[in-house]
Symmetry: C2
Subunit: 333 residues, 2 copies
């Protein structure tokens, strides 16, 4: 057994030492403006001496709101999600919210368990990028979250649920912009490496590309991978074994683009010379290794801000309806 926590300072001990009631001491930390400045200072000082820290468990048990937001990502190691999360956490800090951050490892079981955890922690809202790419994915926890009236903000990956807010990327527009840019470059042979076939994100991006390029380029071929590097690499590599390299590859997200890069380099193709890559999302580390690939880039700061604010709005104004924000990317370089 644990050798006993050293005596932990509690509100009671601080209050006693500072000659006030518990509730006044409590207010010194949660609503300082309601406490007389002098009293406040005395309490704060006593707390400092005793090393007092509010007990989150006790507070959350009693208080209406935990001032805590849960954030769930499918893969923190992906700079898109990792970056978003860091920015959201920063945003949260400014408004005095805590964030509980979890990685679902693209696993449905883990996602389920995490949501339960967040419910268990009484989070005020959840910002969630679901694991699935499938529009029709209908996770079992959604009903429960709705009953419990815990607001959910979906990020990037949309679901067919009416009660969730969401921040999405205009994927069709991504494709259109990419396509228009390729036309300006007089691209002739284009090979798109797409995400999974059931992914609406992937589908919309490809649809946009096709709409912009159809009939205006010599050839437009679409390979299907998933949203990870390895499959994209293998698919691209296989394709390169049987075909002559195109003017342009298009990678449908950052991981896919990495796969394309790897395949091209292994095949000793001169990237940025005969063969080019256009990416949707920036290609991680490309600049370091001397590549400057054109891409459609999204403002993570804006996405993070929008997501966090959609969450907060529903927390502080219980009557507000779910909101939806669509963010457009822009071509870089």
């Amino acid at each position: 057994m644990a050798a006993g926590r050293g005596q932990k300072a509690t509100l009671a001990s601080v209050a006693a030492q500072a000659n006030v009631s518990k509730i006044t001491a409590s207010r010194a930390f949660s609503q300082p403006e309601k406490v007389h400045p002098e009293t406040l200072q005395r309490i704060r000082q006593t707390a400092e001496q005793l090393g007092y820290v509010v007990n989150a468990a006790a507070r959350n048990l009693r208080a209406k709101t935990s001032k805590t937001i849960g954030i769930v990502n499918p893969d923190m190691a992906n700079p898109f999600f990792g970056g978003l999360t860091r920015l959201m956490t920063l945003e949260a800090q400014k408004l005095g919210y805590d964030t509980l951050v979890f990685d679902s490892y693209e696993s449905q079981e883990t996602e389920d368990r995490i949501i339960d955890k967040l419910i268990s922690y009484n989070v005020d809202a959840i910002i969630l990028s679901v694991i699935s790419n499938d529009h029709h994915y209908h996770p079992s926890y959604m009903k429960r979250l709705e009953t419990l009236n815990i607001p959910v903000v979906l990020v990037d990956r949309e679901l067919e649920v009416s009660h969730c807010s969401g921040v999405y990327i205009d994927n069709l527009d991504c494709g259109l912009q990419a396509g228009r840019w390729l036309l300006e470059q007089k691209a002739r042979r284009v090979v798109v490496v797409s995400g999974p076939e059931n992914s609406s994100v992937a589908r919309d991006r490809v649809t946009g590309l096709q709409a912009a390029l159809q009939g205006k380029v010599a050839s437009l071929e679409v390979l299907h991978a998933d949203f990870f590097m390895d499959v994209a690499w293998q698919e691209t590599s296989r394709w390169l074994a049987d075909n002559e390299a195109p003017d342009y590859f298009v990678g449908c997200n950052n991981q896919i683009s990495l796969g394309i890069v790897k395949a091209c380099i292994e095949h000793k193709l001169p990237l940025m010379k005969q063969v080019n890559l256009f990416s949707i999302d920036e290609v991680s580390h490309a600049g370091i290794y001397g590549f400057h690939f054109p891409c459609v880039s999204h403002d993570l700061q804006e996405i993070a801000w929008q997501a966090f604010n959609l969450a907060i709005r529903r927390v502080t104004d219980g009557d507000s309806k779910p909101g939806k924000v669509v963010v457009r990317g822009k071509v870089v370089q």
Copy 2:
């Protein structure tokens, strides 16, 4: 104000519905082996129906242990720390522990606040990679953690505190191994890009290198950067402007190595041909971009496992003394 949480199932409601006392229901979730199988099943089923989830706040308030470990990193976007954290979280899951993960952004103020948060959440232990590289950094929260008897496991960055466990890398050995390897390659001119001068990690690595190489190579020069990419890049770049490229650069961590890569590529030096790079820690994404740099690599899985287990040992056996583990890397490629 929030439009009221939908009625949340509590232990009381589950107990009533299942015709047992609260405590039996409680045990169904925390010590199921102490409940008759039939009763257990009935309770579980009722809970499922009502969508019951244990209230972590209430549990943590009453229970001796929160079964929760705090993990604090200076920079989750660094694959070394990000990877470690993911592995530790996995490890924790296996043993039924939750992890609360925070990023201190290399900021002392943030680190302080995070530690308070973790105390507030009643974590059983904290696994911490401190922000500072300085051996003599003496964070104010340490005294408090000791008083509260919350075990701390330091990872990677050591401090002069007696009551913390720690998992460290054998940095001197890193340098020695790197040096021996360079000798085998018949390196003649070597330039080391080191971390900050007050960092013992950096100092030990350099010392090891010097011990192995001194007098056995034509020249051995040491540049000082910090542990981030940008400064390393600038320093290397500046040096390259005034000097002829060496046989080998040595990067003292993964971020520094990236900086060296960037500088070399900008200077159009043929990496892996005339100029080579030896890295301590693997160079992120190098393989994708076609580079296979030799490096001293550390087994993150082992570090994660050791750290987590040092933490757990002190939680479950309150009498155990702080432990120290030193992990050795090995040369790859």
